[in-house]
């Protein structure tokens, strides 16, 4: 054994990460490295992953400080497409605001906004085909809104009301929308990652052309499922896009508790020999371009790509959270990558394809549309006001066919409810 003189060494110490700012601190994000837009190279989609590991440490940015689209990643979208994306992002924000308020008004139990992260889902959805399969986390409502899912349907789910096709069985915002290529959201973090790989492997094994995409937060990358997914994906070269939404926070824990002090999240890809990109998540064009590139790789049997979307969670984790308890109130506005909606809007204005008046009008129109949808949804009921689902529907869908023990429990429930004088009718 080594003869090395340990007694001369200082004792070990445990490093426990600490975010830069806590409540009350003045915020200065100067240490966040923001490369210039257009500076990052764009490899050919047929290149081998090992030839562009630098991309995992860079930051793909298209919109520059003068609101121009620049560099090799500019996806060169038509003004119509850009306006469509802007509209979708604005719709997501309007929807979020309204539903957050609905929760505060006691109309439902829970809500989660994606404020500041709208580009992540809208940019990606715009670059994917409509029948590509999405395995989202809980902060990609943008996928549904952009794919045309009726807002009323989403709200029905949020209210667990009569119109909710999930029969009130799921927590609000845990949508399932097969018709829009949107997998059932799980409450358990990152379980969707290997599932997306499985779907993609199935598609590949069937000689299909559809690919899968999945999302999780930077905090969620720590789960074992993340690793299982990346391992399977690299082994079988699955046609899947892994999105890591690095919005800097996981409830109250900053990204350092997921490993951000040592490297980027895109670098995880390097560890498995798969393609990794780091993208300005507040730049809808960069998100679009990265997704388009990754999708092309997937569709041409080049395998998986992991995209880290560098962004910021501008509001609380959920309606149950109060971020002023653990981070500086100055962070959201100080975030150096700006507001994704404002940036795309300013780009369209700079192109001469949009103006403030149209934007204001659109915001108003969207707010009206959301309000109208809300009204319609509330006609189907809100949570806690009466019984919106037949009591016995509680037993539907555990199995395809109901076994005797559930039938028996169901019958007993109905009998007891009867015997008790229908307490459910009280409200």
């Amino acid at each position: 054994m080594a003869t090395h003189l340990r007694a001369n060494l200082p004792p070990l110490s445990l490093h426990v990460p600490e975010p830069k700012f806590r409540p009350g601190d003045a915020v200065d994000f100067a240490s966040v490295d923001v490369p210039a837009a257009g500076a990052t190279r764009r490899p050919d989609t047929a290149d081998e992953a090992r030839s562009f590991t630098d991309l995992a440490y860079g930051l793909v940015r298209v919109l520059d400080d003068e609101n121009r689209a620049v560099g090799p990643w500019d996806p060169k979208l038509s003004p119509d497409t850009l306006r469509r994306m802007l509209r979708d992002m604005a719709l997501v924000r309007a929807f979020d605001e309204r539903m957050f308020r609905a929760q505060r008004q006691g109309k439902t139990s829970f809500y989660m906004k994606c404020t500041g992260e709208e580009a992540v889902s809208i940019g990606a959805t715009a670059a994917l085909d409509a029948d590509d399969m999405c395995f989202p986390s809980y902060r990609q409502q943008g996928i549904l809104l952009s794919r045309g899912c009726p807002m009323v349907d989403m709200m029905n789910q949020i209210y667990s009301n009569r119109g909710d096709k999930l029969q009130g069985k799921q927590l609000p915002i845990m949508y399932s929308e097969k018709r829009f290529g949107f997998f059932s959201i799980s409450g358990n973090l990152t379980t969707q990652y290997p599932q997306a790989v499985g779907w993609a492997m199935a598609s590949a094994s069937k000689g299909d052309t559809r690919i899968a995409a999945t999302w999780c937060g930077e905090g969620s990358t720590a789960e074992g499922d993340f690793h299982s997914a990346l391992t399977f994906a690299t082994v079988y070269r699955a046609p899947v896009i892994f999105n890591v939404v690095n919005n800097q926070w996981a409830i109250s824990s900053f990204s350092g508790f997921a490993g951000a002090e040592a490297t980027t999240f895109a670098a995880r890809a390097v560890g498995y020999g798969i393609a990794g990109l780091r993208v300005d998540g507040n730049d809808a064009l960069a998100v679009y371009a990265a997704t388009e590139w990754a999708a092309e790789r997937a569709r041409t049997n080049q395998g998986p790509t992991l995209i880290e979307h560098f962004t910021y969670r501008a509001e609380g984790h959920s309606t149950s959270d109060d971020p002023s308890q653990y981070r500086s109130a100055g962070e959201p506005t100080a975030w150096p990558l700006g507001d994704p909606i404002r940036r795309l809007k300013d780009h369209l204005i700079a192109l001469g394809e949009w103006d403030e008046e149209r934007h204001a009008a659109q915001d108003k129109e969207l707010a009206e549309a959301v309000k109208a949808a809300q009204k319609e949804a509330e006609q189907n009921g809100i949570l806690g006001h009466g019984l919106h689902q037949p009591l016995d529907s509680l037993f539907d869908g555990v199995f395809e066919e109901m076994p005797w023990h559930l039938r028996e429990q169901q019958a007993q429930m109905l009998a007891e409810e009867e015997a008790s004088g229908r307490p459910w009718a009280r409200k």
Binding site: L14, V16, E223, A250, H405
Partner: protein, 348 residues
């Protein structure tokens, strides 16, 4: 050690969160090997605030946030235990304990046995469990039954702030791994099952009177919260309060046993009670099939067969996931307990 050893007499009113927080505080002050870790438990003090103030008091190397990997949290805690520390990891919701199951049942629970006692896992896993807060399928589960099936691990569930503190201290000081499930529905007050009536808090409940200092409530001892002759009610956690309310309303002279610890179980108290009353009702929120109620029923009929005057009744959650909007239909509340009572007392 006595059932309750207190080294200070000053008590105060605490809710269950405060009592749990106080338990960790007291043990951390006494034993530098106790460390607290988990998702959001550090600076913020936990999503239910159970660890609030501990990081400020004991420092970042003893109270810290972790990466979001329950497998890692428990695996790391096992390693810390092997080093000689006494980790108290938190799993944010019991519904998220499954990724850690292998580390809990194949590692923590088996370490003493497989190493001939060379290595042990003196860890206490705290986790809020149970429903009744509109948490939907993944913030409502009661997985305690699983752990009772795995040899080598203890499962403890308090029903009052007083017990929560005393049991948690005993759990942390125990040299075997303990799963400490906290009934989150009663963090703030004793819930009697009437979800449509105003919520109560702990201020008027005797269990809300909690000593400020060190005391233990021994693991494996049940608490007879109501003595009676007509039947025995076995329950734990939130359901203790629901059962008390229903029994009071029904005017039945029931003996209500708050188990407090499922493994080890206080079989003596259970057996004595059922032999006295001749009837037994078991109530838990967890899914019925193979829930801990099944084990209780089996034990009672094995030991009290010739004393039983009616079939043992189980009142439990249904064999479905915990639904969001129909949560009060799922919850084994007063109506269902009441109907079961009628059934079991029919010939009495």
């Amino acid at each position: 050690m006595s059932d309750s050893m207190t080294d200070t007499n000053d008590t105060s009113r605490m809710n269950m969160i405060q009592a749990i927080n106080s338990a960790m505080d007291v043990v951390m002050a006494r034993d530098p090997g106790v460390i607290v870790m988990g998702e959001d438990v550090g600076f913020f003090g936990g999503v239910f605030r159970a660890t609030a103030g501990l990081q400020a008091k004991y420092g970042k190397t003893r109270v810290f946030d972790t990466p979001i990997t329950e497998c890692g949290i428990i695996g790391v805690a096992v390693g810390m235990g092997a080093y000689g520390l006494r980790p108290v990891p938190e799993i944010q919701f019991a519904d998220y304990i499954y990724p850690a199951l292998d580390q809990l049942v194949s590692e923590a629970a088996r370490l003493r046995y497989r190493s001939g006692g060379e290595f042990t896992a003196p860890i206490t896993v705290r986790s809020p469990f149970g429903g009744g807060i509109f948490g939907g399928q993944t913030h409502s589960q009661s997985p305690e039954g699983l752990f009772t099936h795995m040899s080598g691990i203890k499962t403890v569930i308090p029903s009052t702030p007083y017990d929560a503190k005393g049991l948690l201290i005993a759990a942390i000081e125990d040299n075997d791994p303990v799963i400490f499930f906290e009934p989150k529905r009663i963090y703030n007050g004793p819930f009697n099952g009437y979800w449509d009536k105003p919520a109560e808090n702990w201020s008027k409940h005797p269990g809300g009177e909690v000593p400020g200092g060190y005391y233990r409530v021994e693991l494996g001892k049940a608490n007879v919260v109501r003595e009676g002759e007509a039947l025995t009610v076995l329950c734990y956690g939130t359901m203790v309060h629901v059962c008390q309310a229903v029994i009071a309303e029904a005017g039945i002279d029931a003996e209500i046993v708050d188990l407090r610890s499922l493994v080890p179980l206080d079989i003596e108290t259970i057996e004595a009670s059922v032999k006295k009353t001749g009837r037994c009702m078991i109530v838990h929120e967890a899914t019925r099939t193979s829930g801990f109620g099944a084990e209780l029923s089996a034990l009672v009929q094995e030991r009290c067969f010739y004393h039983l005057e009616a079939p043992i009744e189980r009142v439990t959650g249904y064999d479905t996931p915990y639904p969001h909007s129909l949560e009060w239909a799922y919850f084994p509340g007063p109506v269902r307990i009441g109907e079961a009572l009628k059934k079991i007392m029919k010939d009495a």
